[in-house]
């Protein structure tokens, strides 16, 4: 039986063979078979993950809304942040504008409403000097966000430069920079901030008088100086660590083997590989800067009057906290909202872009 199978010849006519099945594939058929997934970059992948993270995405929307409204609203709002509404030139001071409760109107405004005019409401009332409180909160948000943003950029630039120099050159340079970092770390943060802020106010005030900088105020400038001097340490440490580990990667060695110089290696290999860490820590630096600014303003070392910031608004509200508690609550809520959403967004960014978590 077995032999029969092995030796017997196969009758091909029994098979129904369609010659078309054996024809070479046409170009169309080939194209159909080649299913190429579109190449996805690291950045696109990260954005996709960020979009999927609902908390981070909502935080991003909140940040965008707050930022946009703090920029746009002062332009279209009928009241000004510094204008004392009861203080009209050529008339006696109308004290009925002071300390209005939310949505209340002053005596003169009520008369105008009765006369059929429409008066824009004071949504959050007015403060003790008769200034519209809503626009002051909006303006304070703008100042706080600007301080946070620029302070983190200063921190980023200084931290990145010193951190990458320390990490890449190593040896004595690294040791020198890192000991400075250690020294700054060991100083009590807040004490240094308060000391520097009060010294700077005395010395900077006269120096910038009459220049463009006077409008910004010596306090804000000293705030930036404080950030530049004290807060770059953690950024420098972070970037140094990144560069130290990236420097030992074999692709850096491969680049060296082809004869690439340090400039090429930093530009092509080191910075692109730690850019996500840099973005994330900058995003997390902003709320900490806002927080420090609010804290300093609260202590009276922040922005110059009449310019409001969220911290100084809260500080001013303390005087009448028993009767006008909402004046403390409103800026506090805005600070919390900004800091919370920036932190959540920063966390989301880290989850989406940190390669260590998703490899």
């Amino acid at each position: 039986m077995e032999n029969k199978i092995l030796t017997g010849h196969v009758d091909l006519s029994q098979f129904h063979v369609d010659p078309i099945d054996f024809a070479p594939a046409s170009e169309e058929d080939k194209a159909y078979m080649v299913q190429m997934r579109p190449s996805s970059t690291f950045f696109k992948d990260g954005c996709k993950r960020l979009y999927k993270n609902k908390v981070a995405f909502v935080s991003l929307i909140v940040i965008i809304l707050i930022t946009l409204s703090s920029i746009v609203l002062p332009l279209v709002w009928p009241y000004d942040y510094a204008k004392q509404l009861g203080n009209q030139p050529g008339r006696p001071v109308d004290s009925s504008f002071n300390n209005l409760r939310p949505m209340e109107y002053a005596a003169s405004e009520r008369k105008r409403i009765e006369a059929g005019e429409s008066v824009f409401p004071h949504i959050f009332g007015t403060d003790s000097a008769g200034r519209d409180y809503f626009i002051r909160v909006v303006y304070g948000t703008r100042i706080s966000l600007a301080v946070g943003f620029f302070a983190s950029i200063i921190v980023l630039v200084i931290g990145m430069t010193l951190g990458s120099i320390a990490g890449f050159s190593g040896g004595k340079v690294d040791m020198f920079i890192m000991r400075i970092v250690d020294i700054i770390y060991s100083l009590p943060d807040m004490l240094m901030v308060i000391l520097l802020a009060s010294v700077m106010r005395e010395t900077l005030g006269p120096a910038i008088d009459g220049t463009v900088l006077a409008k910004i105020g010596s306090n804000i400038i000293s705030l930036f100086v404080i950030f530049a001097l004290l807060y770059w340490c953690s950024m420098a440490r972070l970037i140094r660590g990144q560069i130290l580990s990236l420097r030992e990667q074999e692709y850096v060695l491969a680049s060296q083997a082809t004869g690439a110089g340090p400039g090429w290696i930093i530009k092509k290999h080191l910075i692109p590989n730690c850019i996500s860490v840099i973005i994330i820590s900058t995003a997390l630096q902003i709320p900490s800067a806002i927080f420090t600014e609010s804290f300093l303003s609260f202590l009276g070392l922040g922005v110059n009057a009449p310019m409001p910031s969220l911290g100084s608004l809260a500080s001013d509200a303390l005087n009448g906290v028993t009767s006008y508690g909402y004046r403390l609550v409103i800026p506090a809520i805005v600070i919390s909202l900004i800091v919370l959403s920036l932190n959540l967004f920063g966390d989301g960014l880290r989850d989406a872009f940190d390669p260590k978590l998703n490899q």
């Binding site: 190429m36 190449s39 690291f42 074999e250 060695l253 680049s255 083997a257 082809t258 004869g259 590989n273």
Partner: protein, 328 residues
Amino acid sequence: MSTEERPLVEVKHLKEYFPINTGWFKTTPLKAVDDVSFIINRGETLGLVGESGCGKTTVGRTILHLYQPTDGEVIYDGKPIKTKEDLTEFRKKSTMVFQDPYSSLNPRMTVSDIIAEPLDVHKMYTDPKAREQRILELMDHVGLNSEHASRYAHEFSGGQRQRIGIARALAINPEFIVCDEPVSALDVSIQAQVINMFDELQDQLGLTYLFIAHDLLVVRHISDRIAVMYLGKMVELADAEEAYNHPLHPYSKSLISAVPIPDPKIARSSKRIALQGDIPSPLNAPSGCPFRTRCPYATDVCAESMPPFEEVEKGHFVACHRVREING
């Protein structure tokens, strides 16, 4: 001497010491490579074997001047590499293939940028079209699909990544390639493909390899000559078959007896020479012959002086005081 007879790479008394901090303000030199001399002829493959930590990789990297040699010199094509200009010239002719195909490719670069990096560093192509053409040619050389040029390294398997690394190495049309365990990270079937590719590329392009590995069978297959290292020193150098079948140094004997034989009958009859103890720390190397602490034939002479690296038979160099007695 004509170019035919002159060795392509000549390494003379190469030393590479790394300073290691052993206390406050105190450093001890770690002798990773200690007085190694050999030549590599044009078009040949020199296999370099030895156990982990014996300095194989350091030899490869020091020859390419990725580490500045502590002492000794590398003579490439008759010219010693001394000045910066020599090194720039040398870099255009020599290159390296790395062990780990995962860390040797930058995850933020596309395959075409990775392959073209040496071209860009040396500014070899100013015309973007010619550069593109060269990239596709290189990808074709190593058996990669040209459609993959715009992809990132993490989208490939280990074998494909190693091919990308080889394409990068070939970009500048090198004469000399240091292959630092290029197949150790791959599985066996892929190893065979990559090794055969190395062979084919050598035939096509006339390349010269320094092939570093710890897999003796791989080295035997690809090498013309084999060098054995132990604790930063070269102990034996011979033709591949000679070194494999008639090793003279006791360390080489033990190393080669440890190669697994894929035939149980022969494997059962062959005796494995097991060494006693561990490899000593290179920070605290034994006096004289570095192998004497584990050598079954060690005598007082071995502790006194380092045996010279001498030609015992034609083309067969061994560093052992008692080589004639042991093999006599």
